[in-house]
Amino acid sequence: MTQLALVIDLNVCVGCHACVTSCKEWNTSGSAGPLCDENPYGANPTGTFFNRVQTFEIGQYPNTGTVHFPKSCLHCEDPPCVPVCPTGASYKRKQDGIVLVDYDKCIGCKYCSWACPYGAREFDEKQKVMKKCTLCVDRIYDNSLAEIDRKPSCVKACPASARLFGDIHDPESAVSQAIRENAGYVLMPEWGTNPANHYLPRRKTNMKIHEDELERSDNPLKVDGLLPKPGKNEPTLDDFS
C-alpha cells in the first residue's frame, strides 16, 4: 500500500512563502477551476489556499527562535473528514492514500471542515465547495512532464529543499529515511488521525572537539623525538607540503 506524503523540514524552512505562491499558481490554473480570491488588491485580501506558512516565535527574549511552519492537508491515514461527508465527495484514494474532494459532488455543507482538527480544508466562497490540498494529483502522474517535475508544486518551488515528497510506506524511500533518521513527527497525535505528512524538528548540529584533537598526533616533526619538541604554534610538516 502506497501512502504519498510530504515531509517538511522545519530546520530548513526559511519562511519565504514560495511553496504558498507556487501551490496557488498551479492549483488556480488547473481544470478544477480557480482558487477564488476576494479583494485581492483591497485592504483585506482573502482567498482560498491549500498551503499556508505560519510563523511562531519560541522562547523568551533573548533566547528566542523563529519557526516557520508550512501548513497544508496532512492526508491522514485515518482521516476524520472522510466518513462524515454525507455525499461521498470527500474520499481517500486507495492506490496512493491521497485525500481528495470531488468538487462536482460537494454540497458545501462544511461538515468535513468541522471534522478536521487541523483546519486543513478551506471553503471556496465563490464556487461554494470545500477545497483542500490534492498533493498536486494532476501533476505527479502527468507523463507529459519530465520525471523530475512529477512532484507537488510546493516541493518543486522550495529553494531550500525543506519539502520532501514520497511514499512513507516504503521504508527505503527518501521520506521514510528522513522521518526515521531525523526524528520526524506528526501533528496532534492525540486524536489518532495518523497523519501521513510528517515534520522534521528544529535541530542544532553540535560537535564536541577534545583538546588532543587539536594537535596532530602523528606529526613527524614531533614523532622521532630527535629535534626539540616544537611549540603548538610552530609550523608542522603540513604547513610546508
Binding site: 499556508r52 511562531f56 454525507p86 460537494c106 468541522w114 501533528l187
Partner: protein, 325 residues
C-alpha cells in the same frame, strides 16, 4: 465554532416539530388505555400538520446552510458512515410519517390494523403514531450525533449532547402542545403543561450538566502538540494570511467571553426559568396567553441556547490562529 443561523433554526424548529408529535401521540396513547378522554380526530390531525409546518420550516432553514443546495439530494448517499447523511434521511422520513399520521386523522381513513389479545384494536393512526414516535427519536439521535460524534470537539463529544437534543426538543414540543390544546381542547392543556414542566426541568438538568462538564474540560490539544514544538512559551507572529481566511471566519464566534456569559444567562432564563414559571402559573390558573408566552419564550431561549452550543465548542484548529504581530 462560529454559530450558523441556518443550523440553529434547523435544529430548534425540527425539535419543536418532533416534540409536538411526541406530545400528541402521548395523549393519544393515554386515551387508547382510557387514561384520558380521546380527542376528536381534528385535534390530532391539525396538531400533526402544525408539527409538520415546523419541520418544513426547519428543512427550508437547512438549505441556507448549503453552498450548493441544488445538490442536496446527494447527501443521503453516505448513511453507512455519516450521521449527517442519516439525519438527512431521517428528517424527510419523519415528515412523511407525520403527514400520514395527520392525514389518517383528518380524512377519517383509520381502519383497525390488528387486534391485541386483550381485544384492543390498533388503528392505523396508532400504528402511524408509533412509527412517527420511533422516527422522531431516530431523528433526535441523528441530529445529536452529528455533533456528538466529533471527538476533538470535546464540548460536543458527550452523550449529554444527544440527551439534550431530545429533552430540549421535547420540552419545546410539549409546551407548544399545551398552548395548542389551550386553544382548541382546553381540557387537555393541563396534561400537556404538566409534561412540558417536567421535560423543561429535565432539560435544565441535562443542559446544566453539560455546562458544568464543559466548564471543566481540559483541552487535549495545545499549541505544543499542534506544531510539535515542546516549549512552554510559543507566540504566533504570522497566520499565513492578512485579511483573514476561512479558518478565522468559520471556527470562532468573534464575541467576548462576557458576551458568551450573558447569552448563557439569557438562555437559562428564557428557555427554562420563564417557561417553567409560566407553566406553573398556568397549572394553578389556566390561561392560554400564559402558555403562548411560555412557548415563545422557550423557543427564543432555545435559539440562544443553540447559538451558545456552537459558540462554546472550541475547535482545536483555532490553535493555529491565535495571533499576529
Amino acid at each position: 465554532m462560529n454559530p450558523a443561523f441556518s443550523v440553529i433554526f434547523l435544529t430548534t424548529l425540527i425539535g419543536v416539530g418532533q416534540g409536538l408529535l411526541l406530545a400528541l401521540f402521548t395523549q393519544q396513547s393515554y386515551a387508547l388505555f382510557d387514561l384520558l378522554p380521546q380527542q376528536e380526530a381534528r385535534f390530532y390531525g391539525w396538531g400533526a400538520l402544525l408539527a409538520l409546518l415546523f419541520t418544513v420550516a426547519g428543512l427550508i432553514a437547512s438549505f441556507f446552510h448549503l453552498g450548493r443546495p441544488e445538490r442536496a439530494w446527494r447527501s443521503a448517499a453516505q448513511w453507512r458512515t455519516s450521521w449527517l447523511s442519516r439525519e438527512v434521511i431521517a428528517l424527510p422520513a419523519f415528515m412523511g410519517v407525520l403527514f400520514l399520521y395527520g392525514m389518517t386523522h383528518l380524512t377519517g381513513f383509520d381502519p383497525v390494523l390488528l387486534t391485541l389479545p386483550s381485544g384492543l384494536g390498533i388503528h392505523a393512526t396508532v400504528m402511524l403514531g408509533g412509527i412517527a414516535t420511533v422516527m422522531a427519536f431516530a431523528l433526535f439521535v441523528s441530529t445529536g450525533m452529528v455533533y456528538a460524534c466529533m471527538r476533538f470537539l470535546q464540548e460536543w463529544h458527550s452523550p449529554l449532547t444527544v440527551i439534550n437534543f431530545i429533552l430540549l426538543g421535547g420540552a419545546s414540543g410539549f409546551t407548544l402542545a399545551a398552548f395548542y390544546a389551550a386553544l382548541v381542547a382546553p381540557a387537555q392543556a393541563g396534561f400537556f403543561a404538566g409534561w412540558a414542566l417536567i421535560i423543561t426541568l429535565l432539560g435544565l438538568l441535562g443542559r446544566g450538566a453539560s455546562l458544568w462538564r464543559n466548564a471543566r474540560l481540559k483541552p487535549k490539544s495545545t499549541l505544543q502538540t499542534a506544531i510539535g514544538i515542546k516549549h512552554p512559551r510559543i507566540v504566533q507572529t504570522a497566520q499565513g494570511a492578512m485579511g483573514g481566511s476561512f479558518n478565522t471566519r468559520e471556527f470562532f464566534h468573534g464575541k467576548s467571553e462576557s458576551f458568551l456569559a450573558r447569552v448563557k444567562v439569557v438562555f437559562l432564563l428564557l428557555a427554562f426559568a420563564f417557561p417553567a414559571l409560566l407553566v406553573v402559573l398556568d397549572l394553578s390558573s389556566p390561561s392560554t396567553a400564559l402558555l403562548g408566552c411560555a412557548f415563545i419564550s422557550q423557543f427564543v431561549g432555545l435559539l440562544a441556547e443553540r447559538w451558545y452550543f456552537f459558540a462554546e465548542a472550541r475547535h482545536p484548529q483555532n490553535l493555529y490562529y491565535r495571533g499576529v504581530s
